[in-house]
C-alpha cells in the first residue's frame, strides 16, 4: 500500500481523493495508521518545487491539487515545511491568462486609461498555459488564507513569507467576484459566452463561497441566495455536501441537505466515489461545528 486513495476502489492514487480522505479521517483515533500512510504518500510525492501532480500517473504538478494537499496537511503536525513549499509553489503558479505579446502590449497601453478595468486578473489554472478558472482559484485561495493564518499564529510569521501572500489573496478574490454570474453564483468560470448569460452551478458556487468566506459581501449574499434557491432540486451528492460545508460557514441551516445527501447514498452508494464519501463525512462533522475549510479555526 502506498498510502494514497484513488477516486474509486482500484484506481490510481489521486492527490485530491487522498487530501479529502485525510481531512475526513484527521480527528479519528482508529484511523491513525491510514493517516500516517496517507501523509507519508504526500511527503513522498511532493516535488522539489513544492507541488503535487493530480495522480500517480501524471508527471506535471498542478497548483489546484497542491492546494488541496496543503489544506489536508494543515491538520497534521510535522508537515510545516511541506505546507510552506506548497504555498511557495502555488504563489509561483499564480498568473494571468497567457496572451500573445502583441495583445499583452495592447493591454499594457490600455492600462494608462483611467477608465480601464483589468480583465485579465491573475488566478490559477487547471493546467499550465491555459486560462484561470473558478475552482482551481478557489482551492488555492482557501489554502493560502488558511496557510497565512497558520503562519501568523506561529513563532516566526515573517520567515514563512506570510505578508507576501496578502496581495495574491486580494487579487484572487477579485478574480472570483469578476467571474460571478449575473444572478449570483458561479459556474466553471464564464459568466457570458458570445453575449449570452450563462447559468451558475450549485457545486462551483459552494466552492467559491467557501473560498471567499465573506458574509458581509453583497456578492456572496446574492450567491448564497442562488444556492439556497437551487439546492432543494440538487441531485448531486457532491454538490449537496459542498453546500452543507458552505452553509455551515455562513450560519445557514444544513440538516436538510445532509439528509438529502444521505438519501442519495442509500440510492447510489455515491457511485463508490471516494472523494464524495470523504466530503460527506466532513459534512457530517461540520454539523458538529468541525469544518476544515473554516477560517475561524
Amino acid at each position: 500500500m502506498d498510502g494514497s486513495w484513488g477516486f474509486s476502489p482500484g484506481k490510481a492514487g489521486a492527490t485530491e481523493a487522498t487530501a479529502y480522505a485525510l481531512m475526513s479521517l484527521a480527528s479519528e483515533d482508529f484511523a491513525r495508521g491510514a493517516i500516517k500512510r496517507g501523509v507519508a504518500f504526500l511527503r513522498k510525492t511532493q516535488s522539489v518545487r513544492g507541488g503535487w501532480s493530480v495522480n500517480t500517473q501524471d508527471t506535471e504538478e498542478a497548483a489546484w491539487a497542491t492546494a488541496l494537499a496543503g489544506l489536508a496537511l494543515l491538520s497534521f503536525e510535522g508537515t510545516e515545511s511541506m505546507r510552506t513549499t506548497a504555498a511557495g509553489f502555488i504563489v509561483r503558479s499564480f498568473g494571468k491568462h497567457p496572451r500573445p505579446w502583441i495583445l499583452g502590449l495592447a493591454d499594457w497601453m490600455r492600462s494608462f486609461d483611467a477608465s480601464y478595468v483589468e480583465e485579465n486578473l491573475r488566478g490559477w489554472k487547471w493546467s499550465p498555459d491555459t486560462a484561470n478558472w473558478v475552482e482551481p482559484t478557489s482551492y488555492a485561495l482557501l489554502f493560502l488564507k488558511k496557510f497565512l493564518q497558520s503562519v501568523a499564529s506561529g513563532s516566526n510569521p515573517q520567515a514563512s513569507g506570510g505578508s507576501a501572500l496578502k496581495p495574491v489573496i486580494a487579487e484572487a478574490e477579485s478574480l472570483l467576484y469578476q467571474r460571478m454570474c449575473s444572478e449570483g453564483g458561479w459556474n466553471y468560470g464564464n459568466a457570458r459566452v458570445l453575449g449570452e448569460e450563462l447559468r451558475p452551478y450549485p457545486l462551483t458556487t459552494a466552492i467559491a463561497l467557501i473560498a471567499l468566506q465573506n458574509p458581509s459581501s453583497p456578492e456572496c449574499q446574492r450567491s448564497l441566495r442562488y444556492l439556497q434557491r437551487t439546492v432543494p432540486e440538487e441531485r448531486s451528492a457532491l454538490a449537496l455536501c459542498m453546500a452543507v460545508h458552505c452553509f455551515s460557514l455562513y450560519g445557514i441551516q444544513t440538516e436538510p441537505w445532509m439528509q438529502a445527501a444521505t438519501l442519495l447514498y442509500d440510492e447510489t452508494a455515491f457511485f463508490q466515489n471516494i472523494k464524495t464519501s470523504a466530503l460527506a463525512l466532513l459534512a457530517l462533522q461540520s454539523l458538529n461545528g468541525e469544518n476544515p475549510f473554516s477560517l475561524k479555526n
Binding site: 500500500m1 502506498d2 498510502g3 494514497s4 486513495w5 484513488g6 477516486f7 474509486s8 482500484g10 484506481k11 490510481a12 492514487g13 489521486a14 485530491e16 479521517l25 479519528e28 484511523a31 496517507g38 513522498k44 510525492t45 518545487r49 501532480s53 493530480v54 495522480n55 500517480t56 500517473q57 501524471d58 508527471t59 504538478e61 497567457p98 500573445p100 502583441i102 487547471w126 499550465p128 498555459d129 491555459t130 478558472w133 475552482e135 482551481p136 466553471y188 458570445l194 452551478y201 457545486l203 440538487e234 448531486s236 451528492a237 454538490a239 444521505t262 442519495l264 447510489t268 457511485f271 463508490q272 466515489n273 471516494i274 464524495t276 464519501s277 470523504a278 460527506a280 463525512l281 457530517l284
Partner: protein, 359 residues
C-alpha cells in the same frame, strides 16, 4: 446515519491502492504554443515581420485509415418512446461489426442538465444501445463519459435520467474524468503537441462507440461523433472545462484525438437534435433519425448534410477528411433512408452562416 458513517469510514480505509508507480521527478518543460501565436500574429499582419511560416499539419502512418468507400445508415426513429433497441440492432447489423465476446464502451454526450433542454444523448437511446450490444454477444458493455463542464457527474447521471437505465441493465458507468490516465503519442500534429493523456478505460475497450447528439456548436459549427470524443480526455488532468484543448484549437484537437484513439462505431441521436446556439443553449430540432456508421468522418459528414450544412466547410471535418475517413458524398454509400427523405435544415449562429447549403 451512524451506519452510513461507519460504512464510509471503512470504505475509506479499505480503498488505499496497493502500489505507487509515480514519476514525479521529471517535470515537462512548459509547452509554448507557437502555432497559436502564429495564428494571432497572422491576424495582425506581423507574420511577415517575424519572417516565419506556419508548419503544415501532418499525420503519422498510424493515423491514416481512410477507406476507399464508407457506409452510413440513416434509420427512422419517430420518438424516444418507441422500441429503439430493434432500430439500433438493425443499424448495427448493417455493418460488419464484430461484437461477440468484445468489451464495448459506449460514449454518450452528457454535458449539462437543464430541464426541458435537449443537450444530452437521450438516456433511452443509451439504454437501447446497451441492450442491443448485449444481444449481439458483447462480453461486457460499459458506459463512460467525462463531462466538459460539470465535476459532479453523479448528479448528471441522476438528473439526466440515465441512472435508471444503467441500474436496470446492471451496466457499469465510468466517470472518464476520474479514471486512470495514460499518455499516448498523437498520430497527427494539428495541435502542435506530441501527446495527450486519455482515460484508460477507453484505451482498454475492444469496441469504442461514440454516441453523440446531433447538434450545432457555437465554436466548431457542429458537434457530432468526432467532437464527442473530447469526453475521453480526462478532466482530472485537463480540467473543467478542458481548456487545454480549447487553447490548442478545438478543430485541431478534434482531429488529433480522432486520429489517435479510434472509435469503431457511431450511433448519432438525431431523434431530437439541437439547432442554433448549441451545444448548450440551442433549440430542440426534431429530425426523427438515428445515424450509424463505422467511419466517423462519413457519419458526421452525413449528419451535416441531413442538417442542411456543408461538411467540407466544417474545419475539423475538412482536415479529418484528408486522412481519417471519407467526407465526399461519392465515397459514402447511403443505407436506410436517403438524405433527401430526412433532410431537415438547422439554424446556425451568424458565425457559421457559410455552412448553410442549398439543396
Amino acid at each position: 446515519m451512524i451506519q452510513f458513517l461507519s460504512t464510509q469510514y471503512s470504505a475509506l480505509i479499505m480503498t488505499q491502492p496497493p502500489s505507487l508507480s509515480t514519476q514525479h521527478s521529471a517535470l515537462r518543460t512548459q509547452h509554448v504554443n507557437r502555432r497559436r501565436f502564429l495564428q494571432a500574429a497572422s491576424t495582425l499582419g506581423v507574420v511577415s515581420l517575424a519572417g516565419c511560416a506556419e508548419r503544415k499539419p501532418t499525420w503519422k502512418k498510424g493515423g491514416y485509415r481512410k477507406p476507399n468507400q464508407s457506409r452510413v445508415a440513416i434509420l427512422k426513429a419517430a420518438s424516444y418512446d418507441r422500441d429503439l433497441t430493434s432500430v439500433i440492432l438493425d443499424g448495427i447489423k448493417s455493418f460488419r461489426l464484430d461484437v461477440a465476446g468484445k468489451r464495448v464502451l459506449l460514449k454518450p454526450n452528457l454535458v449539462e442538465y437543464e430541464r426541458d433542454t435537449v443537450i444530452n444523448t437521450h438516456p433511452a437511446v443509451i439504454g437501447a444501445a446497451i441492450e442491443a450490444f448485449l444481444k449481439l454477444g458483447a462480453k461486457e458493455v460499459k458506459v463512460g463519459e467525462g463531462p466538459g463542464h460539470r465535476r459532479d457527474t453523479d448528479g448528471l447521471l441522476l438528473a439526466s435520467g440515465l441512472y435508471p437505465f444503467l441500474k436496470d441493465t446492471k451496466t457499469q458507468f465510468v466517470d472518464l474524468n476520474l479514471d486512470d490516465i495514460r499518455r499516448v503519442a498523437l498520430q497527427s500534429n494539428f495541435m502542435g503537441i506530441d501527446s495527450l493523456y486519455f482515460a484508460d478505460t477507453v484505451l482498454q475497450a475492444d469496441l469504442l462507440v461514440s454516441m453523440p447528439k446531433l447538434k450545432t456548436h457555437h465554436w466548431a459549427g457542429m458537434t457530432l461523433s468526432m467532437k464527442n470524443l473530447f469526453g475521453i480526455v480526462p478532466g482530472i488532468k485537463y480540467g473543467w472545462p478542458k481548456n487545454f484543448l480549447h487553447w490548442h484549437g478545438i478543430n485541431e484537437s478534434i482531429v488529433d484525438i480522432n486520429s489517435t484513439v479510434r472509435s469503431h462505431f457511431a450511433i448519432v441521436d438525431g431523434i431530437v437534435g439541437m439547432e442554433g446556439n448549441g451545444p448548450i443553449q440551442g433549440t430542440p430540432k426534431p429530425v426523427r433519425v438515428l445515424v450509424f456508421g463505422d467511419d466517423l468522418v462519413a457519419v458526421d459528414a452525413t449528419c451535416a448534410r441531413v442538417a442542411g450544412l456543408k461538411p467540407d466547410k466544417v474545419e475539423y471535418l475538412q482536415n479529418a477528411g484528408e486522412f481519417i475517413g471519407n467526407l465526399e458524398e461519392s465515397r459514402i454509400q447511403q443505407l436506410g433512408e436517403p438524405i433527401s427523405q430526412v433532410h431537415s435544415p438547422f439554424a446556425v449562429t451568424p458565425a457559421f452562416g457559410h455552412l448553410k447549403r442549398l439543396i
